[in-house]
Symmetry: C2
Subunit: 207 residues, 2 copies
DNA sequence: AGTTTGGGTGTACGTCTGTACACCGAAACT
DNA sequence: AGTTTCGGTGTACAGACGTACACCCAAACT
């Protein structure tokens, strides 16, 4: 029943991360105090420093973790297969809904801190989303129908899609899992994706 | 040179609002202290209570004010005229860029507090955006080409457009006025709107 | 002219904050 | 077996916080 020292340490580190995630859900990272977290975890305030140099570093760890689950979402989206556009869209939205449901805390964290978090956190999140846009753009380039597309057109469509996905994720966060609202949002998103792809199909770049 | 009492009062009230707006730009409403605001304004902390019952009420006043400039933006967008879709899109984006530039603080406030603010603030903002979606939907219904559209289709397109506008506004906030980035965002938004409207033109509702 | 009103001041309080410091005890190393 | 390492504890302090209270004085009312 005895635990090794690294195991114990990792355990309370996780407890700190979880407590911070839970507490910041009520407000924001910037309104999070070291003492609150310590009390929630059940350790004395000064013990916090055994794991993080400061609250800011805790925030950085949290954003790293949250971006990890964002990357997981993107990977799953990329592996969504289907014969036609319709089934790909349906599968993608299903994945999005599932992932947001599954990692509610992380996506909520990203939504909150994207603009309200400390500058380094904001930048990290912005960078993560930017990366997602670029990767989607290269994915789109390998799709049939976009052979003649310019770089900027690909970037435009990609940014449009990613923007809609982010907006959808934010909407999903305020809807309870399995709620009618959630289904409505999913349906709406499917329709939006279809509309965007129809627009893309008939797209002819100008200038 | 003597000021009437109501004038003086209104003046410091404004000073408080401005100081709160400026200070919260660095972090968030929830991380804003009464004493900070008082110091910034140049009054003693307890004098704050002559104007607001609490910091929360200050936040409510700020969100009301910010939503006012959002409504102004929407009104201006609605009055954007043009002969064809192209010119309407161009005009709308120009208005958006101008307004975000002009009321940077208010739009920044909305972006930050939309998900990170106190619950009442969040709800007020969400309600404002929802209202904008509904109004755009009824506007779209009066446009030629949407005669056969169902209620949900109109709502879908409206939500898509509003979402893109919100995303654009958020992007614009991080770009300096007149910067190359700002122009790039404006161009991208114009293309996105065109793409969406092309999609809408070829849209045929299913089921 | 005399009185009331109300924005702003100054002091004072209890609470919460981050963090420095000395210390403990058991796991981990030699 | 003896020593070191290190996560966790307890005390302590200076500063910032919200806010209660008594006070001031000029504009506004009578």
């Amino acid at each position: 029943m005895t635990e090794t020292r690294v195991e114990r340490k990792e355990k309370t580190r996780r407890a700190i991360l979880d407590a911070a995630l839970a507490l910041s859900a009520d407000t924001t990272l910037v309104a999070l105090s070291l003492r609150q977290v310590a009390k929630e975890v059940g350790i004395v305030p000064t013990a916090f420093y055994r794991h993080f140099p400061s609250i800011d570093d805790l925030g950085l760890a949290l954003v790293e973790e949250s971006l990890d689950t964002l990357r997981t979402l993107l990977r799953e989206l990329r592996h969504t297969v289907g014969d036609d556009a319709r089934s790909i869209i349906d599968g993608s939205v299903t994945v999005l809904v599932d992932q947001v449901r599954l990692h509610h805390a992380h996506f909520g964290f990203i939504a909150r801190e994207r603009f309200a978090g400390p500058p380094p956190v904001r930048e990290t999140i912005a960078h993560g989303i930017e990366l997602a846009e670029r990767e989607l753009a290269t994915d789109l380039a390998h799709l049939p129908g976009t052979d003649q597309w310019s770089e900027v057109d690909l970037q435009t469509l990609s940014s449009l899609i990613v923007g809609a996905m982010v907006t959808t994720a934010e909407r999903l966060l305020t809807a309870g899992p399995g709620s009618p609202a959630e289904r409505r949002i999913a349906d709406s998103t499917r329709a939006q994706l279809r509309m965007m792809l129809i627009g893309a199909k008939h797209w002819r770049s100008e200038r």
